[in-house]
Structure formats: C-alpha cells, structure tokens
Amino acid sequence: MASIARCLRAARPAAFSAVVRNSAARTIGVRAFSVTATNEIRKYTKEHEWIDLSADKKTGVLGISEYAAKQLGDIVYVELPEEGKEVQAGDSIGAVESVKSASDINAPVSCKITQINLVLEEKPGTINQVAEDDSHGGGWIAKVQVTEEGLKDLEKLMDVAAYEEFTVAEGEK
C-alpha cells in the first residue's frame, strides 16, 4: 500500500491547487502554551502526518493533515493503530481509505501508542471535517508517548511554514 503522499501524487491537481493551509496556523495560534524555542510546535512529515508534542516533551498527538484529507476526498474507513504498540518513525501504524485510494498512516516519530481515536471507527469522515483537531470529537488518530529517539526524529520534520511550502510545491508539480 502507498503512503498518503503517494496517493496524493497519483491524483494531483494539475490545473489548480486546492491547498488548504490556514487551519494548522490557526490551531497553533490558539494553543495557550508558553512557547519556548524548541517545543510546542506542530510538525509535519512529507507523508502528510502531523504531530503535536506536549510541553513536557513526553507525549504527543498525531493525525493526518487537512491538506491530505482534502486531497484524498471522502474518507470511508480508518484502520486505527494498535494501543500499546511501540513503533519507529516511518512504520505503518494504520490506514485511511477513500473511494479512490488506500493510504498508510506512518508514525511521524518513534513512539508508543497510548490511545486511539475510537470516534473514527464509527465516523471516519471526521477526518475530512477536522483533520488537525486534537480535541474530543476531532480527527486526531492517536495519542502517543514520545521516546528519546522520537525527540530526535521530531527535529527532522517540517514546521508549519515549511509544510505549507511543501504542499504548495506538491500542488504545482
């Protein structure tokens, strides 16, 4: 199966670029942490997963980006990760399925899955509505414990500005 990125590439808009990129910035804007230089930033992978790190750098929430959700179309099934599973960055931890494609969800960083969003079992379309929402009723996929290695992995990911640039480039290719 293909990563989200690959599925998006298959159906990439050539004539227009339906890029949704305000939400991430907006979400970050309302977070009430005292931001330091190194944490509290939502990070993105090139495979279109996002992860938020908690203030104590021990836990995180992850999901797929709003850009990806928009591009995939109506999500009809979500294969959730397995609770308790320890995974490496890049491991396939689940999948999202739309009418036209199936995409792997990959772990953005090395971590242990502590909780999964069971709402998505009944309402997979929640991801289309609020992909980057980590609240109850949001489209987040899993909560995780971030390992030491995971913290290092995090440094390799994109911040919101870089991800925005990345998706624009994706749309134009």
Partner: protein, 489 residues
C-alpha cells in the same frame, strides 16, 4: 454494453495502493475477538511471501521532494509518474476550465475528477442525474471489406456475421497461441454490410495495433487472393468520444438532437446505435455523430463519437442542459461505477492469461460459436471450458466473482483465502483484481478470482487486507442493478 478503460487508471487511483499489501502494525485488536481469527492470522503470516516485509517502511514511497530534508529515514524514490509525450484529447482545455485534476492514463492526460464534486458525489450524481465522461482516449477503428466480418470472427468469439445493422456486442481479442487468453476487450458495432466500428482500450493501443496489423496481413495473405475477402482498417484517431450516462441522459441528448434527423431515442435500445446531427451553439448542426446506447456505468446512457474539431461544441451543447442535470465526471467515478455494475477493467480483471470463461464472460459467446470448430483462436480450449468437468468438459479452475467485504475495503492484489475455522487452516483461494467502497451501497465491493467451487453466491471467505483476514462473502454481480434501456416493457 461495456466499453473500456485501462491500466493507468489503476496506477492513478489504485496505483501502489494494494499491490504489495503491507503488513500493518495495526494489530489484531478488533480481530482477536473472533474465534480462530488470531490463529488464522498467524498461520497465514507464516506463509507470507518475502516481499511483504512486516513493519518496515516499504510502503513509504517518499515523494519527489523539491527540498529534500537531510537524513530522512525513508527510502526516497522518484517514480516518473508521467511517461513522456502524453497526448491531449479534444476536450483538454475544457477539462482544465472545469477544474479537473489531470492524471496520465492510457497515454493521455485525463481528468480523474473535477473541483465541483468529490469522487463519491460524482458517482452518486451519475446514478441520480447524469454525467458526461471524456473517453476520447479510447481507440476507435473501423474494419471494412468483404472479409471484415469473418476476420473479426477469427480474432474474437463474437457472432459478427449475425450482428444486425447498427447493433453492438461486447467481445474480446483472443491470443493466437490457442489458449483462449484475452488480448483486450472490445465493443464491435456493425455500421453496415462489411463495415464494423470497434472500440478498444487506450492502454492496449500499441499492443492491439501490432496484433491487428499482423492478423490483417495474415488474413489478407490467406483469404484476399482467392475470394477477394479482404479486410482494411481505418483508425479514427483524433475523433472525440464522450459518454453521457445516467437517468437524465436521454432527455439531455434529446434536447440537442437535430430536428429532421428522424431519430427517436425511445426506439434506440441498449446495444443499438445510429448516426445523427446534433445542434451546436447558435443554429449550427454538427457533422453526423455516432450514438451508441450503452456505457460503462450500468446506467442508461450513450457513447457519442464526434469529429475531433466538433467535440468541444457537442460537449458544451450537452452540458448546456444545466449543472443540476449533468456534470462532468472523471476516471475516479468511472471506476467505482463500473465496479458496481460488475464490469471488467482490462489489465486488472482481465489479461492474456485469463479466458472469457474464467472471467465469467461466457455470455459474450453466442450459442452457434460454442464448438471447437467455431474458427476463432482458442475455440478448442474455450469450448471445452464452457462444459463442466462433470459433463465431460474441462470446466475452469478459477472464476471471477464479486465480493462484499466487511470493514476495510479490499483492493487489487489482496489475497482471498478460505475462512479459517476450528481444525481448518486458511488456504489461498485467489486474488482480488478490483475493489473499492461502493458509494451507492455503503459497503465495500470487490471482484477477483477464486478457485472453482468457491464461486457460488453466499460462500464465506476471508480477504487479507494489510495482512489481517476480513470477512467477505461471494456476491452476485452487478452489485447495483443495471438500468439499460430495453424499450417500453
């Protein structure tokens, strides 16, 4: 009536989707509750082919990145998604103006969907109103000459000589190795005595060209000299072909039929065709277009072959019925619609190693051509397969079936296995060749091949999606009833 589609759709829509199903780390949490489920998983995993590596980022085919991040841990591949020199259909600019997402398909830039509707919405709109599909990438040819009908009866199992004027049939080109394999599927229409219109798949263009040229040369060398039963081919390259599909299709086409054409659409039945002029913008009339009643969605509808430079005009005239009645639709909806209608996609559900009988297409072979001496390639094998083993024939070892799948959709490449129960290990039965969530039914549908004996409707099997068994039941096709126009009953 079925028309065709090709390989690149799969690359676009299913491309890399399920070819090598990854064993997901997603665990058997919801699966362990089913007795035998875990055991089945275990025993099957032990027999997994080596290429399906567990828990490795084999599936993270990282995108071509403009600014590669240093030290990413994913294997970076740069697949060339567009082969060079893709062609454009006459409707290319119209697609772009309507916000199409274009993908390479069968050597053309083709729309996979449009900005106004998602694939599901477009699918459902087709079933409730009408959609217009550009299928100009498909290959249109005309075979003519005194030997044309008999020539076509050598390369296909169709009853071409018996075909009435302006009547069509689905058929297939057969491999010349006498094994009965399918080179391509095709719609054959008799335009008049000694003149046949044949539509084949875009993705098979080069292969079919070689096959048909070679076979025509052979035919003309054998038959042309003596009785003058020659066959010639015209290629209708550059012509447009659009499919208008859905319950509103007839009304939309009737609006633009030129007065005085004498064509009553109520009398044009499924599988029939006619030439007529259509009203363009203003007071202009088009050149005669070839209207064939049928399509690739299971709905009532028409496929309309149009002179290349009039294709935009005709399309705009059809779209002028209004967006509440007709919308443009792309390859995405076309694929899910044809799957609901139980129709095959060449290169996926059909190939050269598959015979029409295995493919559940015995119905395309008329009664009078079911004998070993019927004169088409592979008649010996095919006629024997048509008779069950119990009745002295060879029957078939595997058959194409429909499946309804619980939970995760099963897509191309997914293994079909027997249901593991106490004391019984799962064994491989076959493979899924097409599958998706059905927008009309809200269930996952699929088609694939299973061992003979497991093909009856209601047979319970499992499919291995991401390495885990999911329940599936063999189901009759079409999944959604077809609505072909066969006249006032």
């Amino acid at each position: 009536m079925q028309t065709s589609r090709s390989t690149a759709l799969a690359r676009a829509l299913r491309g890399g989707v399920c070819r090598s199903p990854s064993q997901s780390a997603a665990g058997a949490r919801r699966f362990s509750s089913r007795p035998g489920g875990v055991m089945a998983t275990t025993s099957l995993l032990q027999h997994r082919p080596a290429k399906q590596q567990p828990l490795q980022p084999t599936t993270t085919l990282t995108t071509t990145v403009l600014r590669p991040l240093p030290q990413t841990r994913h294997a970076s591949t740069t697949p060339s998604s567009s082969p060079p020199e893709l062609q454009k259909t006459p409707l290319h600019d119209l697609h772009l103006a309507h916000g199409a997402k274009m993908v390479p398909f069968g050597g053309f830039h083709m729309p996979v969907q449009y900005s106004s509707l998602s694939v599901s919405q477009s699918h459902l709109f087709t079933r409730s109103h009408a959609s217009l599909f550009d299928v100009s990438h498909m290959v249109q040819r005309v075979f003519s000459g005194p030997g044309a009908a008999r020539f076509l009866q050598r390369v296909t199992p169709a009853g071409v000589e018996a075909l009435g004027e302006h009547c069509s049939t689905l058929s297939c080109l057969l491999t010349t190795d006498a094994k009965g394999g399918i080179v391509d599927d095709a719609i054959i229409t008799r335009l008049k005595e000694g003149r046949f219109y044949v539509v084949t798949n875009a993705a098979c263009r080069e292969k079919d060209d070689v096959y048909l040229e070679r076979e025509m040369d052979k035919w003309n060398a054998e038959e042309g000299e003596e009785g003058g039963a020659v066959v010639e081919q015209e290629k209708w390259d550059g012509r447009g072909l659009v499919a208008l599909q859905g319950p509103e299709a007839e009304g939309i086409l009737a609006r633009v039929l030129g007065e005085g054409e004498g064509l009553d659409l109520k009398k044009l039945l499924f599988g029939q065709s006619a030439f007529a002029r259509l009203k363009l913008d203003g007071h202009l009339l088009s050149s005669p277009v070839l209207i064939s009643r049928g399509g690739y969605t299971g709905e009532d509808g028409f496929e309309i072959s149009i002179a290349g430079d009039e294709t935009v005009g005709v399309t705009e005239a059809l779209l002028a019925a209004g967006p509440e009645k007709v919308q443009l639709a792309g390859l995405g909806a076309r694929d899910s619609l044809r799957l609901e209608a139980g129709m095959c996609l060449y290169g996926h559900d059909l190939d050269e190693a598959t015979t029409p009988v295995e493919a559940g297409l015995s119905w395309i072979i008329p009664k009078e051509r079911r004998t070993a001496d019927a004169g088409y390639y592979g008649a010996d094998v095919i006629s024997s397969q048509l008779v069950a083993k119990s009745k002295g024939g060879s029957g078939v070892e595997r058959r194409r079936v429909g499946l309804i799948v619980e939970g995760a959709p099963a897509r191309e490449g997914v293994e079909i296995v027997s249901r593991a129960e106490e004391g019984k290990e799962a064994v491989k039965l076959g493979i899924v060749t097409s599958g998706c969530p059905s927008p009309s039914l809200g269930k996952n549908i699929a088609m694939g091949y299973v061992k003979d004996g497991f093909h009856k409707a209601g047979t319970e099997v499992d499919v291995l999606v991401r390495g885990r068994p999911r329940k599936a039941v063999v189901a009759k096709m079409p999944f959604v009833p077809t609505k072909y126009w066969k006249g006032d009953a």
